[in-house]
Amino acid sequence: MAKGKSTQMSSMPSPEDVYQVTLSNGITVLARSNFNSPAVNLGGYLPSGAIFDTDDKLGLADFATSMLMRGTKKRTFDAIYNELETVGASLGFDSGVHNTNFGGRALVEELPLLLTILSESLQTPSFPKDEVERLRTQLLTGLALRAQDTSDMADLIYDQFLYADHPYGKPTDGYVETIRAITRKDLETYHRLHFGPRGLVLAIVGAMHPKKAVEAVEKALGGWQVPGQIEAPALPPLKPIKRTVRKHHVIPGKAQSDLVVGTVGPNRKNPDFMAASLGNSVLGQFGMMGRVGNVVREKSGLAYYAYSSLHSGIGPGSWEVNAGVNPKNLKKALDLIEKELQRFVKNGVTKEELADSQANYIGRLPLSLESNSGVVSAILNIHRYELGMDYYQRYESLIRKVTREDVVEVARKYINPERLVIATAGP
C-alpha cells in the first residue's frame, strides 16, 4: 500500500548534491536543488554575537542585529519591507552568543531581491536615529514582558548560575539599564568592527541549479571586503558547580510556576554528544516527553509540559529538565524530577528504551528533511559542527553504535544529582 515511488536517499543531503564553494572574500556558499516547489530558502550565519558585549552595554549585538533591516544607505525601513512583502518574501536576523544568524525565503524568481536586501542589510545598515529609538522602545517592552514570563525568568536565572562569570550566563537581550545605555554610535561601531565576510556561511536550497545560486550570491556578496574584522575572544573556562544551587525568582500574581533543573552538557563536537542525545531522548523526549513526562505528567498529573533537553552548541552545553506546574506543586514536581535524574544516572537506560530512541532518530529523518528550510538548517549544522557532508549517509551507523554502556557513562559524567542548578520562577 505504501510502496513509495520516492526514494529515501533522495531527500538526504550528500556530498554529491550539496555544491560547496568558497568565494574569494572568504564566504562559504552551500547550495542544493529542490524543484518540488517553486520556492527558495536561504539561511546562514557569521561570527558576530553577544560574546563581544560588555557588561554595561549587554544586548548591543542583539540591538545592532535587529537594526540591520531598519534602514540601509539605499533604502528606508519601510522600503526594505515593502520590497519583500510585496512579493511574499521574508528575511530576518537574530543573534546569539557566537553568531548572527539569518534566514529568508521567496518564490524562486525573487532570489535576486532577497540577496540584494540581505547584502545591503549586512554591509550598509544606516542605523537611522528615529528607528533606533523606536526599536529601543520595542526592546524595552520585550524586557518588561520577559520580567513577567515565568518560563523566561526561570531560564534566565538558571543560565546565570550554570554559567557564572561566563558569556553564556548573560541574557543576549540585555537588561533595561543596558539597553538604555546603548547609543546610536555604539551600534554603528559594533557593526563596523564585527560584520564582515570572514566566517560567513550561506546555504541556499530551492528550485534552481546550485551553480546559479552560487553565482547569485557571488553577485550580491562577492565584493564585500572588511579588512581587520575582529576575531572573537576564546570562551573562559566554566566554574564547576560544587553543590546543588536552588534559586526562586518571585513574580507575583501568576497562576503557574516554571522550573528548570539541570547541569552542564557536552558541546556538539564532543564525542559524547550522540550518547548524551539518545540518553536525553529516553529521559525526557521519546513518546510523551520520555521518563520525565511519564512521571510528572502521565502518572502524577502535575504538569501539561515536563521534558528534558540537551542544548549542545559551540561551547559548554546544558542538559536540563523544564516544566510548568501549579505553584503549590513545585516541590512535588522537583522531587520527582530529581528522583528521575538519580535513577537515570544509577541505572542508565534499558535495552528496549535505547532501541526505541535509536529507531526514532533514524525514522524521523525524512520528516525533518522534507522542506527547503529543513535542508537549509541540516546543511548549516553539518558545516558549523564539521560533521562532514556525508553525515546523513553515516548517520544510521552513528546512531546504532551507541550502547547502553555509552549512555550510562555520559549520564554519570555530566549529571551529578548532588550538583544541580535548580531555578524556579512564579508567585
Binding site: T141, K254, F286, A359, G363, R364, P366
Partner: protein, 420 residues
C-alpha cells in the same frame, strides 16, 4: 491541479480524501471529527478538548503509553488539536509505516477506554495547561473579549474550558461525549503523501468500513443576536505593559464577503505567514510611535466569528490615543477606494504562502480535511482565483459593512505595576 484528490464516501458514511505526493517518503494522515468547543453547553465547557486528551490514553489493543512509543519508534510525528468547530488527530510517518496509524485511528474511534484513573490524572494536566495560559495577559484579555462578544452562541468560551467545569466534569460526561461524536458518519480521513491511491483506499475500507456508521450528531445552533452599542471592558493583572483587543463580528468562511475581507485583512494587517511591517496599521501605529506592535486576524469558521485587532501599548502613549488612530485607518478604508495594485499584491503574497506550504506533506493533508469541516476542498483550490476577483469596490463595501463601532467589543488589559 498537479496532484488530483480522490474523494470517497465509505459505506458507513465516513469520508476519505487521498492525495498522492511523491516528493519524500512520507505520509501524513489526519482524522477529523465534527465536534469542537461550539458543541459544548454550560457546565461542560472544555469537554471536546479533554476528550481529545483522553484519546491518547489507550484502547485495549493499543494501551496508553504504547501508542506514543509505537509512533515515535517509527520516527513519526503525531499530535491533535481541538478548535471551535472540529477536533483533529494527525500522524506524519515514514511511508512504509503508515499502516500502524490507520489501524490505531480505526481502533480509537470507538474503543478508547477512558479509564477513571486516567481521567483523574488528565483533569489536573488540563488545569495546568489552563494555568499556563492564565499566566499570559493576552490570554486573560482575549478570553474576556470573546466572552463579551458572544452571549448566546457557544463560541463564547475558550476551547480549554472554564475551570469550574474542568473541576466538575465526570468520566461519564467525557465518555458520552466521545461516543456521541466519534462515529464514522461524523468523521473525515485525509491522507497525503507517498502512497498509491487504489491500494491505500482498499486498506482504508478494510479497516474502517466494519465500524458501525453511528448517527450524525446534532450541532448546537444558537445564533448570536446583533449587538447594538459598543461594549468596553477592562482586565487588570500583573505587569507593566498594557494591551488592547478590539473584536468585530466577522462572517463565516463560506460567506460571499469572506474573500473581500481577506484582501482587506492583508491590507490592514499583512498577509498571514509573512512579516507585516508595511501594512496600513503598522505604518500608522508602530511607525508613528503610538504602539509597540499591532496585529489582526480572522478565523475560518462555520458560524460568524470575530475579526480581532491587538495592540501592545507603549508606556508613553495611552490606549485611547492608539485606538483613535486605528479608528482613523478603518475610516479611510471605508471612505476611499484602494488602488487595484494592492489587490494584485495581496494575491501575489497569498501565492507565495501557498508555494511554501506545498513543501510540507503534513500541511497538504491538513488543508484537505480542514476545509471539509466548514466547506469543501474547492474552497482551498479556488482560494487564489477568488482573491483575484475581488474589486476595490468590494473591499470598500465590506469595510463599511463589518467595521462598525457600535457592533464591537473593546477590551483593555491594565497592568498593575511591577508587582500585582
Amino acid at each position: 491541479m498537479k496532484n488530483p484528490v480522490t474523494q470517497v464516501q465509505l459505506k458507513n458514511g465516513m469520508r476519505v480524501m487521498l492525495k498522492e505526493i511523491h516528493t519524500a517518503p512520507i505520509i501524513s494522515s489526519w482524522i477529523w471529527y465534527r465536534v469542537g468547543s461550539r458543541d459544548e453547553s454550560t457546565g461542560k465547557t472544555g469537554i471536546s478538548h479533554w476528550t481529545e486528551h483522553m484519546m491518547f490514553k489507550g484502547t485495549k489493543k493499543f494501551p496508553g503509553g504504547l501508542l506514543d512509543k509505537a509512533i515515535s519508534r517509527e520516527g513519526g510525528r503525531w499530535n491533535a488539536s481541538t478548535s471551535r468547530d472540529s477536533t483533529r488527530y494527525y500522524e506524519t510517518m515514514p511511508a512504509a509505516k503508515i499502516d500502524l496509524v490507520l489501524r490505531l485511528e480505526a481502533d480509537r474511534m470507538t474503543k478508547s477506554l477512558f479509564d477513571p484513573k486516567e481521567v483523574a490524572s488528565e483533569r489536573t494536566v488540563i488545569i495546568s495547561e489552563r494555568e499556563g495560559s492564565e499566566n499570559e495577559p493576552m490570554f486573560l484579555l482575549s478570553e474576556a473579549v470573546q466572552h463579551a462578544s458572544f452571549r448566546v452562541h457557544p463560541y463564547h468560551h475558550e476551547i480549554i474550558g472554564d475551570k469550574a467545569d474542568l473541576h466538575s466534569m465526570t468520566r461519564d460526561d467525557l465518555y458520552s461525549h466521545y461516543r456521541t461524536y466519534y462515529v464514522p458518519k461524523n468523521a473525515v480521513l485525509s491522507l497525503a503523501g507517498d502512497f498509491e491511491t487504489k491500494s491505500m483506499l482498499k486498506r482504508i475500507k478494510e479497516l474502517y468500513e466494519p465500524i458501525p456508521a453511528g448517527k450524525v450528531p446534532p450541532r448546537m445552533a444558537r445564533p448570536e443576536p446583533e449587538h447594538n452599542g459598543e461594549l468596553r471592558l477592562t482586565v487588570e493583572g500583573p505587569g507593566e505593559t498594557a494591551f488592547t483587543q478590539i473584536a468585530y463580528p466577522f462572517p463565516n468562511a463560506t460567506h460571499p464577503d469572506y474573500f473581500a475581507l481577506q484582501v482587506l485583512e492583508s491590507l490592514l494587517n499583512g498577509a498571514s505567514g509573512l512579516s507585516y511591517k508595511t501594512c496600513r496599521l503598522y505604518r500608522a501605529l508602530v511607525d508613528k510611535g503610538y504602539v509597540v506592535d499591532v496585529s489582526g486576524w480572522s478565523e475560518s469558521t462555520i458560524d460568524p466569528y470575530l475579526y480581532r485587532f491587538t495592540m501592545v501599548h507603549r508606556p508613553d502613549k495611552t490606549p485611547e490615543e492608539a485606538l483613535s488612530v486605528l479608528d482613523d485607518e478603518l475610516k479611510k478604508m471605508q471612505d476611499t477606494l484602494m488602488p487595484e495594485a494592492e489587490i494584485q499584491r495581496a494575491v501575489k503574497q497569498a501565492r507565495a504562502v501557498f508555494a511554501y506550504g506545498s513543501e510540507h506533506i503534513t500541511h497538504q493533508a491538513f488543508w484537505m480535511g480542514y476545509t471539509s469541516m466548514f466547506s469543501d476542498y474547492s474552497w482551498y483550490t479556488t482560494y487564489l482565483s477568488k482573491l483575484a476577483k475581488v474589486t476595490p469596490q468590494d473591499v470598500q463595501r465590506v469595510a463599511q459593512t463589518y467595521f462598525q463601532k457600535n457592533k464591537r467589543v473593546v477590551g483593555t488589559y491594565i497592568p498593575q505595576g511591577k508587582g500585582a
